[in-house]
Amino acid sequence: MNENEFAELSAGHALDALSVEDEQAYQQALAAHPEWAELVDADAHVAGFLAEGTGEEAPPIDVRARLLAQINAMPQRMPAPVDSAAETAPEPELALAGPPTEAVQSVQRRNWTRGLFALVASAALLVGIGWGVGSLVEQARTPISVQALEQIQAAPDAQTVTGQFAEGGEAVLHWSAELGKVVLTTDEAPKLADDRTYELWFVRGDKPIPAGTFDDSGEVTALLDGSFQPGDVVAVTVEQAGGSPDGQPTTTPIIAIPTA
C-alpha cells in the first residue's frame, strides 16, 4: 500500500466510515508505517472540527447522578507503562464489530475486552524466538501436551512470551504458527478455590473462543484446544469448575498474551 492509498483509508477512518475490512487494512498499514501517523492526527483534527458542527443538547437530568454512582464502583484502566507495548496492542474499540443490543450488556462486554487489552498493553512481556532442540525420545510415554510443547520448541518459527500472574507465579506461552499449536506452561500459578478452575481463551478480534481449562497445581503444561490463528490473544480467566458453562468468560482475564 502506498501513501496515497493509505490517505484514503485515513480519511475514512477519521469519519468513522470505513467498512470492517478497510478498518483492518487501515490498522495493519498504520502498524507497518508508523510514519503515517501524522496524517492520521491531521485527519482526526479535521473530524474533531466537524464535531463542533452539531448543536448542544442537555441530556436527561438523571443521567448525571447515575453515572456518578456507577463510576464510584468502577475500576479504571491502568496507564500503559511501555509505549511500544501499547502501540502494538490492538485498539479495543475497533474490534467491536457487532455491539450487542442491550446497552448494559455492551458495557459489560467492553469491560471484558478492555481489561484484556489493558493487560496486553501493561504486561512486561519477554518475547523470544525459540530455537530449542526437540527431544523425540520417549515420546510414547510423554503426555500429548508435553509432546506438543516439544514439537513447538523444535519448530523453526517457535515463539515464547512470558506473562506474570498479578499474585505471583508465571505463565509462558509457546506457539508455532506453522504447527498451529499453542501450549501454556505455568509455574506456581495462584491457588484457586476448590470449585474454580483456570480457563484458556483464544481472543480473535473481540470474540473469546474457549480453549480448555487447567488447574492450579505447581507446574502445568496445557495444550490449547481448537484452532489457533496468528494474531489471536491468548487469555486466562478464572471460571467455575469445568469451565464457563455458556462458552463465554464470566470474569476479567488475569493473563493476556498477544501472539502477533
Binding site: 480519511a11 475514512g12 469519519l15 466510515a17 483534527h45 473530524a47 458542527g53 474499540e93
Partner: protein, 201 residues
C-alpha cells in the same frame, strides 16, 4: 504541528498564550488519577455537546442516552489513554463519542429507521437531496462556512458520512457513485478542509 490560531469553540475562547487552553485535557488527567470531582466537572462542561453530537448521528433519544452513558463510562475507565501531546481533550472525547454513535448506528438501525433518520424517504419526493437535508441540520457557523468552500460532491460525501453516520459503501449506494470515487471525495474533502482550517501536516 497543528495550528488552530486563536479560535473560538462554542464561546470558550482558547487563549493565545496557550496556557491552560485544554481544560478538558486537564480534567482528563485528573480523572485518570481517579478524581471523581473532575469527572463531574467534565460531565457538566461537555455532556450537552457530547449528547448533541450523539443525537445528531443517532436521532433516537433513548439510544442516544445509552450511548452518552457508555461514552462517559469509557472516559472514566480509559482516561489514562489520553495523551496530552497528541491533541486536545475535548477533541479526544468528541472523537470517542462519534465513534460510539456510529457503532450503534451500524449495529442497530434497520434500513427503515435510517431512511427516516436523514430524510432519505423524503428525498424521493422532494427537490432536496439527502445530503442537503443533512446539511440543513448542521449548526456552528464556522463549520458551515468551511463546508461551503468544498465542491458539492465532496461536501455531500463528508456530510453523509460524518453527520449521517453512513459508511463509505452506504454513501456510494445512496449517491449512486462508485465506492472508489466516494473514498477519493472524502479524502480530497478532508484535505481541503484541513487547508481551510490552517492545520499543517
Amino acid at each position: 504541528m497543528a495550528c488552530w490560531g486563536a479560535m473560538v469553540i462554542d464561546g470558550e475562547e482558547v487563549p493565545e498564550d496557550g496556557q491552560s487552553a485544554d481544560h478538558a485535557g486537564e480534567l482528563l488527567l485528573r480523572i485518570a488519577d481517579g478524581d471523581q470531582v473532575a469527572f463531574a466537572e467534565l460531565y457538566d462542561m461537555l455532556s450537552s455537546r457530547v449528547f448533541g453530537l450523539i443525537k445528531r448521528v443517532l436521532v433516537d433519544p433513548s439510544q442516544s442516552e445509552e450511548v452518552l452513558q457508555e461514552v462517559f463510562l469509557e472516559i472514566w475507565q480509559s482516561a489514562s489513554g489520553f495523551a496530552p501531546k497528541k491533541g486536545q481533550g475535548r477533541s479526544w472525547i468528541l472523537t470517542m463519542a462519534h465513534r460510539r454513535a456510529v457503532d450503534r448506528v451500524r449495529a442497530s438501525q434497520s434500513s427503515a429507521d435510517r431512511d427516516v433518520r436523514v430524510g432519505v424517504r423524503d428525498a424521493y419526493t422532494q427537490q432536496e437531496g439527502i445530503a442537503e437535508q443533512v446539511e440543513l441540520k448542521i449548526e456552528g457557523r464556522r463549520v458551515v462556512r468551511a463546508l461551503r468552500t468544498l465542491p458539492d460532491a465532496q461536501r455531500e460525501a463528508l456530510t453523509l458520512a460524518y453527520f449521517g453516520g453512513y459508511s463509505q459503501s452506504e454513501v456510494a449506494a445512496l449517491l449512486g457513485a462508485p465506492l472508489g470515487t466516494i473514498k477519493t471525495r472524502m479524502r480530497d474533502g478532508l484535505n481541503r478542509l484541513r487547508q481551510e482550517m490552517g492545520v499543517a501536516l
